[in-house]
């Protein structure tokens, strides 16, 4: 059995001021193992995306501890969290979030450069070709279809060979055919590289393809 990639220990997340607070997560505990593909499901507003943000170190929990490869990240500084993200984590969003004035290849290379890997055009081109985007390398996001943009976004999150992939409804803006294609790309990579994948989704069929399903309701694991 492999070790734990992610571990949430009694995590609570509260937004708002003293008088008007929203308790998003209410003391949840779970862990995700290396090589494991886990889907997080639940109704809107249940706290699924918050779990992704906490795991990525983009949000600070109100209480509890989060471990990434056994390192407690809850007390880390902004720059230490940046380092964790660069080394271990790849993130895929529902709305792609590509930089509009960079080409497909430049968007992918951006991730390499963040990790201080410069002039690795070949690697970015090769990955995009694998994703069927060899003919779109120099196209701007506005010149790509939704499916193509999402493939660029996934390539960007995988180019650094992360050990954890956090995907927030990556198929939410895609049709059925493109959705399955994206899932295949993510699953193949995860399986082939002994990576963990946390997949937030509303799609029951996709959730069923994962190793495990974590269901969140009212900020708690159901």
């Amino acid at each position: 059995m492999s070790g734990e990639s992610i571990k949430f220990q009694n995590i609570s997340l509260v937004y708002g001021s003293d008088t008007n607070t929203t308790e998003v997560l209410k003391g949840i505990d779970f862990s995700i193992n290396e090589n494991e593909i886990v889907s997080v499901v639940g109704p809107s507003g249940s706290g699924k995306t918050s779990i992704i943000m906490l795991a990525a170190g983009l949000e600070k929990s109100t209480s509890g501890s989060i471990f990434i490869h056994n390192q407690d990240i809850t007390g880390l500084t902004e720059s230490e969290l940046s380092l964790i993200r660069r080394r271990h984590i790849g993130i895929v969003f529902q709305s792609f979030y590509l930089i509009p004035n960079l080409t497909a290849k430049e968007n992918v290379m951006l991730s390499l450069e963040a990790n201080k890997k410069y002039n690795m055009d070949d690697e970015a081109e090769s990955l995009l070709e694998n994703f069927g985007l060899g003919h779109r390398l120099d196209h701007l996001p506005s010149e790509l279809s939704g499916g193509e943009q999402q493939r660029v976004a996934i390539a960007r999150s995988l180019i650094n060979k992360p050990t954890i992939i956090l995907a927030d409804e990556p198929t939410g803006n895609l049709d059925e055919e493109n959705s399955q294609h994206m899932i295949d790309l993510l699953f193949n990579y995860t399986r082939g590289n002994k990576t963990s994948l946390v997949l937030v989704t509303h799609d029951g069929d996709i959730a069923k393809q994962c190793d495990r399903i974590i269901e969140i309701r009212d900020g708690k694991i159901a």
């Binding site: 995306t49 902004e78 380092l83 984590i89 004035n101 963040a114 201080k116």
Partner: protein
């Protein structure tokens, strides 16, 4: 609509500031013109002023004048005034009769002092201004000496009605005409100036006025001035300064225009969906453009009205800055014409800079709604637009050029300004092209900076243009000011003599020379004979009709000038054209001119020139031209005549002294021994000129800084209109693991790259412009001061960078949650 205006704050702010500057210029100019027009009789001192120069009018003429109204006679002259032993100053003295002043009020402390000086016959009294009082540490009641005569200080002058410039900036004193008559100065004293003012009663005013004027119509020795003439030089100064302010204002408005264009484009891009929906509902592009244009027009209307209202009230504040001695009180003055002028200039700027942005609406298509694919639109430059822009710009330039008497300078300024805009745009383009070729360093910060600069929405062009022009203007002014200060503080004192002597009788000259040799045998002395003369005609054509107001050598024909004579040309004014006269020709007048004066006026060798020498008109022949070096402050003359002809004229001497000994001691010994000789220390004059130049350049630089302020607002607004894009990009960087420090470093590198490319050209353009001004207009040697340039560049850079940091403060580490939630 309200939301639109919040987004359009930069248009509102920059338009308002630049319109305010223009309004202040118009309003203060209007108030000053109104004030001097309303007080033109006070400024002249009478209904008519008769200037008879070095000679007084005949008693018969004065009697005839007296029959037409009240006559007041004054004599102005320069002389030494001594206080305690060893302390003396060179003063502009006015000897006035008991009728003075005919108009306005001479204010003194105590108020009764004027009466005790001009009307009483007991102890001779003198009125001094504040400068004399402080320099000689004098008090009312103390004794001073003028021309060997003792005077009691009766009071201190607070203000004079007829704007004697020395009263405000120099040393000025008033004694009674009776005391002056006691000095028994001879009419050949070139520094005497007789003036007669006439106040005519209201009855038969026009008739008596005409009669008085006609008395002197055929008399070339006398100049008649009317109230409208008294304000001519003041109007010229006001015109020149307001022209400068107008040019600064319009420069600020053009920079503001860049902000308007950028903001409008961003505004339209943010509303591309709304525009597409309107088009899908059947609105034409033309109608939509007008909707946005009306919004801008409304902003222009509100800002121009507000700016003009503040401008109209500004004379009340300006009154606090006007020296009391001038006796001027400005009144707010509303003028619809002035407001329309300001609004018209604002409209031209708004049209020029909003047309390319508004026409981008043509590129937004309703069909984009179906695919939700909105690409950002760019400035639209069709052939028709370019024609509009050229036409509107030509109208703007013509408006300013045709309103000034310095048309060439104004046109050159605009050409230089537009050339600078193009140069800085090319600088930004060159930077982008260079960076694209050299992708450079393996550093995250550099890569981010590089991408920001080379991207389509790069801030490089807007920062380079708006900051570059302002910085260049400030650098140019600083370099010009520095060169002038250096010339006045270092170069001139090094070459100039230490003392000037004026009013030296020819009988006294030998004794004075011997006396000075006794003090310092090594002293360099230069004495030149001198008489007063005026330029009447060139080849029998009245000279006034040949030389325009704007002619750079007009000074040489204005009023009485001092002329001298020589046997041979001097080393410091060598002959450059023509031949020298033969010695001994006492019957014919031969004339030598300063070559630059001759060139400006159009005098050629062999021309016949009529001079009025001591009241007699004499025609002479132009024999040669000399290159005259005035910068040394030695004794030099624009007009020199042949010594043989001059030998029969009464004259006096002017002289200079350069000595290695203590000048104060020499001056005080000379004044004690020769009380009628005026000995003026040059360092006092230089420090006074230096002080005035410092004040002028401080004011000019402060006003010009408005261009930089507008530039900074435009830069900050350009950053803010890109706030969403920058925030979005920084968020992606953050998600990819790029830290806060890297993003700040990237922004620093981005600014440094843009600013470094900009300053090289700013310094170059400023160096060329200041070189032109210093060498050609001031005719001094130009020296480039690298330390000053770097100081101006560094301080502007630091302020700009801090502002950029401040404008970006919310974009460095944006919250992830709103983005992921699509908020």
């Amino acid at each position: 609509m309200r939301r639109s205006y919040k987004k359009l704050w930069v248009i509102t702010t920059t338009l308002f500031i630049s319109l305010l500057l223009l309004s202040l210029t118009f309003a203060i100019k209007q108030s000053m013109v109104d004030e001097i027009s309303a007080n033109s009789k006070e400024l002249l001192g009478g209904d008519i002023l008769i200037d008879s120069g070095v000679s007084p009018l005949d008693e018969v003429v004065i009697d005839k004048l007296s029959s037409l109204g009240t006559v007041s006679s004054t004599v102005n002259f320069f002389t030494m005034l001594s206080g305690q032993p060893g302390s003396s100053v060179f003063v502009d003295m006015r000897a006035a009769d008991s009728q003075y002043p005919l108009y306005g009020e001479l204010k003194t402390v105590p108020p009764s002092a004027i009466d005790s000086v001009l009307n009483r016959s007991d102890n001779p009294g003198i009125l001094i201004n504040e400068n004399i009082k402080s320099q000689l540490s004098l008090q009312v009641g103390q004794e001073v000496t003028v021309m060997n005569t003792k005077f009691i200080v009766a009071g201190v002058i607070s203000s004079v009605p007829d704007l004697a410039r020395s009263a405000v900036f120099g040393e000025f004193a008033i004694i009674s005409k009776k005391e002056f008559d006691g000095f028994d100065l001879r009419s050949e004293n070139s520094f005497l100036h007789h003036e007669y003012r006439l106040k005519i009663s209201k009855e038969q005013f026009e008739q008596k006025n005409q009669e008085a004027i006609s008395m002197f119509t055929d008399d070339d020795k006398v100049r008649v001035k009317l109230p409208k003439d008294s304000t001519e030089s003041l109007r010229r100064i006001i015109d020149n300064f307001s022209n400068f302010l107008n040019l600064v204002s319009v420069s600020a408005m053009i920079i503001a225009g860049i902000g308007i264009s950028n903001t409008m484009l961003s505004f339209i891009n943010q509303r591309s969906v709304s525009v597409a929906i309107k088009k899908s509902l059947g609105f034409s592009s033309r109608v939509i453009k007008f909707i946005y244009f009306y919004e801008i027009l409304l902003i222009l209307f509100v800002t121009s009205v507000l700016a003009y209202c503040i401008g109209v009230m500004s004379p009340l504040i300006a009154n606090f800055m006007i020296p009391e001695m001038l006796g001027i009180t400005l009144q707010p003055s509303f003028s619809l014409i002035n407001y329309l002028n300001i609004a018209f200039i604002g409209l031209l700027i708004v049209l020029i800079f909003s047309i390319p942005s508004l026409y981008s609406i043509n590129s937004i298509r309703a069909m984009s709604l179906f695919r939700n694919t909105f690409l950002p639109v760019n400035l639209h430059f069709s052939t028709r637009n370019i024609v509009y822009l050229v036409l509107l710009t030509a109208i703007l330039v013509a408006y300013f050029v045709f309103q000034t008497r310095h048309q060439t300078i104004t046109l050159s300024y605009f050409l230089a300004f537009f050339a600078s805009l193009v140069i800085f745009y090319l600088v930004a383009s060159a930077l982008i092209a260079t960076l694209k070729r050299f992708k450079g360093f393996n550093s995250n910060s550099y890569k981010i900076a590089y991408r920001n600069i080379v991207s389509k929405k790069s801030l490089a062009p807007i920062i380079t243009i708006s900051l570059g022009v302002g910085l260049t203007l400030l650098l140019t002014l600083s370099l010009v000011a520095n060169n002038l200060k250096r010339e006045i503080a270092e170069n001139i004192p090094a070459k100039a003599p230490d003392l000037f002597f004026v009013s030296i009788n020819k009988e006294e000259k030998g004794d004075l020379e011997e006396f000075i040799r006794g003090i310092d045998s090594e002293a360099i002395l230069d004495f030149n004979p001198m008489i007063s003369a005026s330029f009447v005609a060139l080849n029998s054509v009245p000279i006034e009709s040949l030389v325009s107001e704007g002619n750079p050598s007009r000074w040489a024909i204005r009023g009485d000038r001092r002329i001298s004579w020589l046997k041979q040309p001097k080393d410091n004014s060598p002959m450059v054209e023509g031949d020298w006269w033969e010695s001994g020709d006492t019957d014919n007048l031969h004339i030598s001119f300063d070559s630059s004066v001759a060139s400006d006026i159009g005098i050629r060798i062999g021309d016949k020139v009529t001079l009025n020498i001591l009241g007699r008109e004499v025609e002479g022949t132009v024999r040669n031209f000399r290159k005259v070096e005035y910068r040394s402050l030695g004794t030099n003359f624009a007009i020199i005549i042949n010594d043989a002809y001059a030998s029969k004229l009464p004259y006096e001497y002017i002289g200079t002294l350069k000595s290695s000994l203590d000048t104060n001691k020499i001056q005080s010994q000379i004044i004690n021994k020769f009380p009628n000789v005026s000995a003026i220390k040059i360092d006092r004059i230089i420090s006074k000129v230096s002080e005035i130049i410092n004040k002028i350049f401080f004011a000019v630089s402060a006003i010009s800084a408005v261009v930089i302020v507008i530039g900074l607002i435009v830069v900050v607004s350009a950053i803010l209109v890109q706030a969403n894009l920058r925030k979005y990009n920084n968020l992606i960087y953050k998600i990819l693991g790029v830290g806060f420090a890297t993003i700040v470093k990237a922004m620093t590198i981005e600014f440094m790259l843009i600013y470094l490319s900009l300053i090289a050209f700013s310094i170059s353009v400023a160096a060329i412009a200041s070189h032109y001004v210093v060498e050609n207009i001031f005719q001094f040697d130009w020296v480039f001061d690298i330390n000053l340039s770097l100081m101006v560049v560094a301080s502007t850079g630091i302020v700009t960078f801090l502002l950029i940091l401040f404008a970006n403060k919310n974009m460095f580490s944006p919250a992830v949650y709103p983005l992921i939630r699509n908020e």
